[in-house]
Symmetry: D2
């Protein structure tokens, strides 16, 4: 199923509930941070986590990300690809291979 379908499903869900009024970019950014905290909680005390729980929390983060992308009129896949092009330049393969340091210390 393609991106369009998910976008349409989410838009219908929001419209049925008249929730667009709550979905300012600021509120969606807060919601992404709130859900990212719940995802992180799966790993609060260690590397092991319930796959089922991680999948649900990740879905929540993704949902608000897609709603924010839609609110801003951008395509989620396209902005990931655009940013990837910039990151490729900041982290050239020969300098960054096998290293987790930030670009400013590479």
């Amino acid at each position: 199923m393609g991106e369009i379908s998910v976008r349409d499903e989410l838009a219908a869900f929001v419209a049925e509930r008249d929730w667009a009024q709550f979905h300012s970019p600021e509120n969606l950014a807060k919601s992404i941070a709130v859900e990212a905290g719940e995802l992180l909680e799966c790993f609060q005390w260690g590397a092991e986590a319930s796959t089922e729980r991680v999948r649900e929390e990740l879905a929540d983060v993704l949902t608000y990300c897609m709603l924010l992308a839609d609110r801003m009129g951008v395509d989620p896949n396209q902005i990931v690809l655009d940013k990837l092009a910039l990151t490729r330049e900041k982290y050239p393969v020969d300098k960054s291979r096998g290293r987790s340091e930030k670009y400013d210390v590479l």
Copy 2:
């Protein structure tokens, strides 16, 4: 451009840099929270934010979400749709219309 392509582009980017070793689910969950904080910073003092900056920070959150989905062998669009089905049940249209309260107080 479909989801498959983004997934393949990200996988190639990671493989070229030998970065899969850093991408444990736990580290990716931390990365999502870190980037969600940077996205939130765009709105730290108010509702207005630079569109360009929001798009870049949102792309960073989405990138780590897609990497985590891939690491767990799930499709980002599918888990959003699966979760949406559950949320539809928790927030029936007649109870939740025009209200931002959580399901447990509706």
Copy 3:
């Protein structure tokens, strides 16, 4: 040096810059989340982190926490002690000793 002094130093710093206008509880809560993300970034790829950097980022989280406590008219130490009393009840020693599970699964 006691809590009072830090509170007074922070209040003077804010007053000199006329920044109280930006310090709504909501903005301070966002700021705490933003700084918590920067603290987490110290540990993004593993358990090791620069002590100096952790100390600075932790100071930033604490600063906004103290500003929010002050804005709400509560004492930071007192609310920690009040919450600790509740947590002692939720996690009795005999049930929680040596276990990291949440109270609802203990």
Copy 4:
């Protein structure tokens, strides 16, 4: 009641439950981010929030901050004051008065 007492109360609470084993700096940094997300959730859809709920969530963030400070052998008040001295230099009164911009754009 001074900082020493809170520190001692928290240390006793942790020791009774044998929880120091879970309190690596990394786990405490994750915990601070998780609790910061719960605090932010109070303001997810707007500026109004329950005072009682904010106080409890703020207490949780502060608790983990104090545990991390203790784990690193630093005094919470002192690192706030040390950081404040640095921030005073980055944000001179004449440049920053009444403005919320970051120091690099002032």
